[in-house]
């Protein structure tokens, strides 16, 4: 019997011969395989777009508040005079209201990090693509999209983390990443050098992308690259190029300015609207609801969002000058059944709905990154700066005539007490409110931001202090000059600590 048992035991040893000690990932592929599989590059490029909307793990946590686009819109528009804060919160976006920036604030760190993740993804594809001999038009399109994404992300970074080009082109810009094999330790390039790289990448992308291979407005296209070049040229003060690239987009014939009646549904139907040049596609699976959607801070139907940030009083006053302006349809005054104004902590509630109602959902939209109106406004601003008053006002009137203001056109005349640039910038504010434009436009034009209105950006404000019949007085930081260090964010501390060559903003 003992021998039988020994035999069984010996057999049991045989199981080891089949042991391979392998545990390969089942939901990921190796970086190297991207270039060698048929759908590798396509997946990687699509992934780069997904990073604009996904909640990526950051600092060990998948925080639903961490989304590229959420930080993109909040970090810019909450700093502007278009938005009022109705609730003090521990969410770091509050620092954008209070100007209590820190180098460790998570929203800015995440935005920085994901920007570079998209850039790393783009670089991986560009490098893999450079090894393809005779790339097809579809492959060239993908590579072109990656040059676009690299340019777009570098440009957004330099807008948030460096002084405006028009104020100081030699100021430290951001770290330029154009290769995955660069040393990790790398200094910030100057603002000027960053713009040069952005422009070079955007031009390169516009030559690689073709109509035939275009994947539609939810992806980068030749026109998206030109729209980016229009915007970058304007920020750089290169007005001739601004006009050139704006014209290229306008004359491409691919886009049509929304009419006054279409305009009301433009943002809910961004993916199909003829005005959209480039938007980030969100579909039903990306409807993050109250916890994590872009709309949540701006709007609530009672359950759908936090609804704690509203259209500011100065912006509403500006719209109120022309009650027929259809752009007010994106501002939703919260009234109760008897028509009484509703308040949050003493602040009147005027919801913003530019990020709602795709497919009827209060928390879903495909945020627009570029649209045709901006091309007219970019051109108008360039023209105004070049002294081409009538051309500038014609462009402004084109916008106004499509926004229900046919009865309130400039018709080539600058109103007394206003400049042509003033008229253009006012139109830009009305048109592009809540679209991550206002703050950059104010400061790059060397203007001050005036936030003299009741809201929780005022230090230590209590609801009981609010008297809406008079303007607030004596609170600090109500007017922020373009010379303030608070017009840009700190470089994330995590970058400074591990990248010893990078310097911090003052």
């Amino acid at each position: 019997m003992k021998n039988k048992l020994l035999l069984i035991a010996a057999f049991s040893m045989l199981i080891y011969s089949g042991c391979k000690l392998e545990d390969n990932p089942t939901n990921a592929v190796t970086t190297a395989s991207l270039a060698t599989t048929s759908d590798g590059l396509l997946n990687a490029v699509n992934g780069a777009y997904a990073l604009f909307k996904d909640h990526e793990v950051f600092e060990g946590t998948t925080d639903l508040n961490n989304m590229y686009l959420r930080q993109y819109f909040q970090m810019s528009d909450f700093a502007s005079d278009d938005v009022v804060c109705g609730q003090v919160t521990t969410d770091p976006f509050f620092l954008t209201f209070s100007l209590g920036f820190t180098p460790t604030q998570q929203n800015a760190s995440y935005f920085w990090y994901i920007s570079y993740k998209i850039i790393s993804d783009a670089n991986t594809v560009i490098e893999a693509g450079s090894k393809i001999s005779n790339p097809s038009a579809a492959q060239q399109q993908l590579i072109g999209e990656c040059y676009f994404l690299r340019a777009f992300c570098h440009f957004n970074l330099v807008r948030f983390f460096a002084e405006p080009y028009t104020i100081n082109p030699t100021a430290p810009g951001i770290v330029l990443r154009t290769s995955t094999t660069d040393p990790a330790i790398k200094a910030r390039s100057s603002v000027k050098d960053v713009y040069a790289q952005v422009i070079a990448d955007a031009i390169k992308s516009s030559t690689l992308m073709t109509d035939g291979a275009s994947r539609g407005v939810t992806f980068a296209t030749k026109e998206a690259a030109e729209a980016l070049l229009s915007r970058v040229s304007l920020y750089e003060g290169d007005y001739q190029s601004t006009i050139t690239y704006s014209n290229a987009v306008i004359s491409s014939g691919k886009f049509t300015e929304a009419t006054a009646s279409d305009y009301k549904t433009l943002f809910a139907n961004a993916q199909t609207d003829k005005e959209t040049i480039f938007c980030i596609a969100f579909d039903a699976l990306d409807d993050y609801g109250k916890l994590g959607s872009l709309a949540s801070q701006y709007y609530s139907n009672g359950n759908s969002g936090w609804g704690e940030e509203y259209a500011s009083q100065p912006l509403r006053d500006l719209y109120a000058q022309n009650p027929s302006d259809v752009r007010t349809s994106y501002i939703d005054d919260d009234l109760d059944s008897s028509g009484a104004q509703q308040y949050k902590n003493g602040i009147p509630i005027y919801y913003v709905t530019k990020f709602s109602f795709q497919g009827g959902s209060p928390t879903l939209s495909s945020p627009i990154m570029f649209r045709l109106s901006e091309m007219y406004l970019n051109r108008a601003e360039a023209e105004a700066n070049l002294g081409q008053t009538s051309a500038a006002l014609t462009d402004v009137d084109f916008i106004r005539s499509n926004r229900g203001l046919s009865g309130a056109l400039y018709n080539g005349t600058v109103p007394t007490g206003q400049t042509v640039l003033g008229a253009v910038l006012q139109e830009r504010r009305l048109e592009l409110a809540f679209e991550a434009d206002r703050t950059f436009t104010v400061y790059r034009n060397k203007q001050s931001m005036n936030k003299t209105y009741w809201g929780y950006h005022l230090q230590g404000l209590q609801a009981s202090d609010i008297n809406l019949s008079v303007a607030p007085a004596n609170y600090p930081n109500m007017i922020i000059p373009y010379t303030s260090t608070k017009i840009i964010y700190y470089i994330p501390e995590a970058e400074i600590l591990s990248n010893t060559a990078a310097t911090q903003n003052p």
């Binding site: 042991c19 990687a44 591990s498």
Partner: protein
């Protein structure tokens, strides 16, 4: 056999029991030790009864009453073998000698792959017997071990039903790799068991003992041994524990209606910082218009409304016995833990059958099966959050006691900041979970020669875990109108097979034993999940979700192949030398880096067996030990060495690949080099002391090295950096008093641990949830908080203040000042979440048949950041969240010149930002368990055909002494999603338990 009738009979007899007297005679005598010296404190009794027991006096003399005729006496004393003395009918004077009992040294300790006599051990090993373990009633062995093993830190950070504690042995020695000790059940790595089935727990603390477990033993090893038959006689045991638990809200007292009303007056003070003409008075007219006194008509205590006392029950039945061929043990447990929070609970059933068949004396086949199933209901964090933060001015119930529905559209006044009634949410949601687990162990021992044997030990296991999150469309909030269902399940099957050749022989004065063999461990874990919205009211199955359907799932199959060996040598039972060597291959690493080697060597000298101590009366045991060895870690998840793109994302309905991980082809084992020196000493047969000092260096840490964020990756896995842990452990177990009727025993242990990081490639500031940062740098500690120092309130402005350090070019602090500008405050290291020392102090008093036990656990020197305080002590920045009653001595600033502790609500900018304001001393002393019990007389039990009946009342977590402000200071130290070690967030409060225990053996 146990039956209900018998139990009833027994209860009846308890009432009617009385003592019977008989005629008596006296026997006198003297007790001596082997060398002739008299022995005091020896208990002498008539065999079979403790009635009339006496103890010998200082000179060894005793006198005992016995019945007429021949009797048999028994003599007991700790450290001596029980002596049986027949006394003839006419004998009334006796004297006898007590034999020393070296049983303690001869006791067999299970050390993993083998077992050894306690006296032969060369490593730091602590054994906790079942008796010492089961004071606390729980389903979790960690809770039971708290305070009983030096060097073992146990954190019960949640009071949720079925929650599992965190166990850390000798500090934390890894940064990014897993930290929990390896659990070994009945000699096989891993496994499921019920605490009621546990015979003993052995904790292996140094590498001398743990290196044989190689790559899985970095966090130490806890060996669970389940019960086996002890004698020929069939033994039954029935145990019932029943009682209730109440939530322990700690030191955080929330305001009631009128306290909050008074508190809110502060918000109406006429003060605009920087403005002139401030009057600093409260505008009572405005206050009364905005906070009408009618709100005082409602005084809801949300906590006591949502947390209620809940029942706890634990029933256990076992049977064991032996026949010539077969040993068997059967245990069944039913554990039912009610949750103190609404709609939470946990139930578990566990069945175990341990059987050993003896083919011959030496050839044995063991079949052990453990089957368990559990189910319960979990909770949503937000519901507990609102239990703390909703205002007492809101009433959750309508006149019919139905939880009212509240949302942003509700037009009635709802004061609380968020328009939500958590009770209504709970009524319309559910978080159930279920699990099933089966283990089958098969072991065969086969002698080949008299000194060589073969053993194969195998376990197959399968488990299934299911959890669900359900919201009805009727719920308030995100899922209103749509509902939501998310079902997740995990099934796991695995096997482990260990095949060893064991040898054991004597050569003259030397004895050698050891083993060599091979082990394979593999498993596959599959997760499958699906979710969706668009549920019809009343239904909650995946079949009926109408939209937003999403699925997830992936398999993972890790494996480890190991070669192991161990040799133990002893000479004259005085000198011991032990060595082990293990080679592990893991699927976690790249080909070429898969294998790691883990050697150890240890030595012991049993000094008390030397001639010069052999006859010493003071010292009955003295052992010196020294060990050195290496353990490892590979537990970081699969494929960390590969450059990866994740395919879990999608864009525009197409698959998206996103950058996941940087390549690190050379990634390999993290190894912990452990040096331990210790001694065990036994004195006067009463006192046992164990002292150990250790120096552990974890090298080649598997570290997520911080990358500049601008490369697009936060970290890269590398083998770099070191964690140093130096520590000292002291444990004493003492029989303070032992006489006939009264015994007092004390177990005390304390352990100090000092932790340091070395050779870190760069300083990393890790900022987690609630914006709390911790710094990792060479020379620093693990989990070191990094934040500005709170400097109180500016007496002139009422603004918060923080410390600023002004530094020269060399970074030396030249002066300090304070600032009310948070951004310019200096970030400083503020202490670690890990304790400096911790331990337990446990006492047991026995008087005749009664016992009283008081067990405590203490922890000192750790910091806890109470992130809750930013909400409940928020200086008016969020006025519509309920606030805590401020601790004594606190005051809110009211006017210039006021020396206050709380900033002005009118000038509170950044006052709740992360600083030492909310960083609290986490030290505490916890009264873990008090029990009072009574053993019914044996004679009485025997009349019922029972052998033992024990009754006791016990209370767990009776009280925590602490200066911490918050829920109880036990705070998680395991990093994770939304979790920073040492940061307390609103949690399911821990519980006090009050229990009645009945234990019957027959």
């Amino acid at each position: 056999m146990f039956n209900l009738k018998k139990l009833l009979l027994f209860l009846l007899l308890v009432v009617s029991y009385c003592n019977l007297y008989a005629q008596e005679r006296v026997v006198k005598g003297k007790v001596t030790a082997k060398d002739g010296s008299s022995l005091p404190g020896v208990v002498i009794q008539v065999q079979g009864t403790t009635k009339g027991a006496v103890a010998s006096g200082p000179d060894g003399f005793f006198s005992i009453n016995v019945t007429p005729g021949a009797v048999i006496l028994e003599a007991h004393s700790i450290g001596y073998t029980t002596k049986v003395i027949p006394v003839a009918a006419d004998q009334n004077k006796i004297s006898f000698v007590m034999e020393e009992d070296n049983k303690q040294l001869g006791e067999v300790v299970v050390t993993g792959y083998s077992s050894q006599k306690k006296g032969n051990l060369t490593s730091a090993i602590t054994v906790v017997s079942a008796e010492k373990l089961k004071d606390v009633t729980s389903d979790d062995i960690g809770e039971m071990l708290q305070g009983k093993v030096s060097g073992l830190q146990v954190v019960n950070s949640s009071g949720a039903p079925g929650s599992v504690s965190e166990i850390r042995l000798r500090g934390v020695s890894s940064v990014n790799a897993a930290q929990a000790p390896l659990i070994v059940v009945d000699g096989i790595i891993g496994g499921d068991y019920d605490p009621n089935d546990v015979e003993s727990v052995t904790v292996l603390k140094d590498a001398g003992a743990t290196a044989i477990y190689g790559s899985q033993a970095n966090g130490g090893v806890i060996i669970i041994t389940t019960k086996k038959a002890k004698g020929d006689k069939t033994q039954y045991e029935f145990k019932a524990v029943t009682g209730f638990r109440t939530p322990d809200f700690g030191t955080m007292t929330m305001m009631n209606s009128s306290e909050l009303y008074q508190n809110q007056k502060q918000l109406f003070r006429d003060y605009i910082p920087g403005a002139t003409g401030n009057s600093y008075v409260i505008d009572l007219v405005q206050f009364q218009s905005e906070r009408p006194a009618s709100i005082l008509n409602t005084n809801t205590n949300w906590l006591t409304t949502m947390f209620k006392p809940a029942p706890v029950e634990n029933y256990y039945f076992s049977a064991m016995g032996k026949t010539a061929k077969n040993d068997y043990y059967f245990g069944a447990t039913f554990y039912d833990e009610g949750g103190t929070f609404m709609n939470t609970d946990y139930k578990r059933v566990n069945l175990r059958s341990n059987n050993t068949y003896h083919f011959t004396d030496k050839i044995t086949l063991t079949n052990n099966i453990n089957i368990s199933g559990s189910e319960g209901k979990s909770y949503d964090y937000n519901d507990i959050y609102y239990a703390y933060l909703n205002l007492p001015w809101d009433n959750p119930y309508d006149a019919n006691h139905n939880a009212i529905y509240v949302d942003g559209n509700s037009k009635f006044t709802w004061w609380s900041r968020d328009k939500t009634n958590p009770i209504n949410t709970i009524d319309n949601s559910d978080h159930p979970f279920k699990s099933f687990d089966i283990n089958y162990d098969l072991a065969l021992n086969l002698p080949i020669t008299p000194w060589l044997s073969f053993s194969t030990t195998n376990r197959g296991s399968a488990s299934y875990y299911y959890s669900s999150t359900f919201y009805s469309p009727e719920v308030e909030g995100v899922y209103h109108g749509t509902g939501y269902l998310n079902d997740q399940s995990t099934y796991d099957y695995g096997g482990i097979s260990t095949n060893l050749l064991k040898f054991d022989f004597k050569l003259g004065k030397s004895a050698i034993n050891g083993l060599a063999g091979v082990e394979f461990e593999g498993s596959q874990t599959n997760t499958v999940g699906a979710s969706g919205k668009g549920l019809p009211i009343g239904l909650s199955s995946l079949d009926v979700v109408a939209n937003s359907q999403a699925v997830n799932g992936s398999p993972d199959s890790p494996s480890i192949l190991s070669y192991l060996s161990q040799v133990n040598y002893s000479y004259e039972d005085r000198y011991f030398l032990s060595g082990s060597y293990r080679v592990d291959g893991s699927s976690a690493f790249a080909p070429g880096n898969k294998y790691g080697t883990f050697p150890s060597i240890s030595a012991g000298w049993l000094v008390s067996n030397e001639d010069f101590l052999r006859d010493n009366h003071a010292v009955d045991n003295l052992k010196l030990r020294l060990s050195y060895g290496i353990t490892g870690t590979q537990d970081i998840g699969a494929s960390r060495y590969l450059g990866l793109y994740s395919l879990t994302s999608q864009y525009n309905s197409a698959v998206g690949a996103t950058p996941l991980q940087l390549e690190s082809p050379n990634l390999t084992w993290e190894s912990k080099h452990q040096l331990d020196a210790g001694f065990d000493i036994g004195l006067f047969h009463r006192i046992n002391i164990t002292v150990d000092a250790y120096h552990n260096v974890t090298k080649n840490l598997l570290l997520q090295v911080a990358q500049p964020l601008s490369v697009g990756f936060e970290t890269k896995w590398e083998n770099t950096g070191q964690v140093l842990n130096n520590g000292l452990e002291f444990a004493i177990s003492s029989q303070n008093i032992k006489n006939k009727d009264f015994q007092w025993t004390t177990d005390f242990n304390i352990s100090f641990n000092n932790n340091k990081l070395q050779d870190f490639p760069s300083t990393v500031i890790s900022t987690g949830e609630d914006a709390v940062s911790q710094i990792y740098r060479t020379g620093g500690n693990l989990y070191e908080f990094y934040m500005p120092t709170w400097e109180g309130v500016n007496p002139q402005t009422g603004a918060p203040q923080w410390l600023v350090q002004n530094k020269d070019a060399n970074g030396k602090v030249t002066s300090t000042s304070v600032t009310s500008n948070y951004a310019s405050a200096t970030l400083q290291e503020q202490g670690s979440a890990l304790p400096k020392f911790q331990g337990g102090f446990n006492n047991e008093f026995r008087y005749k048949k009664f016992f009283l036990r008081i067990n405590t656990y203490f922890l000192y020197g750790n910091k806890v950041y109470n992130a809750n305080l930013a909400e409940v002590e928020n200086d008016g920045s969020e006025p519509l969240l309920n606030q805590i009653v401020l601790p004594k001595g606190s005051s809110v600033w009211t006017h210039p010149g006021d020396i206050a502790t709380e900033p002005s609500p009118e000038n509170n900018t950044n006052s709740t930002s992360v600083s030492t304001r909310y960083l609290k001393n986490g030290s505490y002393l916890s009264l873990r368990n008090i029990a009072f019990g009574y053993s019914l007389p044996k004679t009485f039990a025997q009349r019922l055909n029972l052998s033992d009946i024990n009754l006791s009342l016990s209370a767990d977590n009776v009280y925590t002494f602490t200066r911490y402000l918050g829920q109880d200071p036990a705070t998680t130290i395991t990093p994770g999603n939304f979790v920073t070690p040492g940061v307390a967030d609103f949690k399911y409060p821990d519980n006090r338990q009050f229990l009645l225990n009945i234990d019957i053996k027959f």
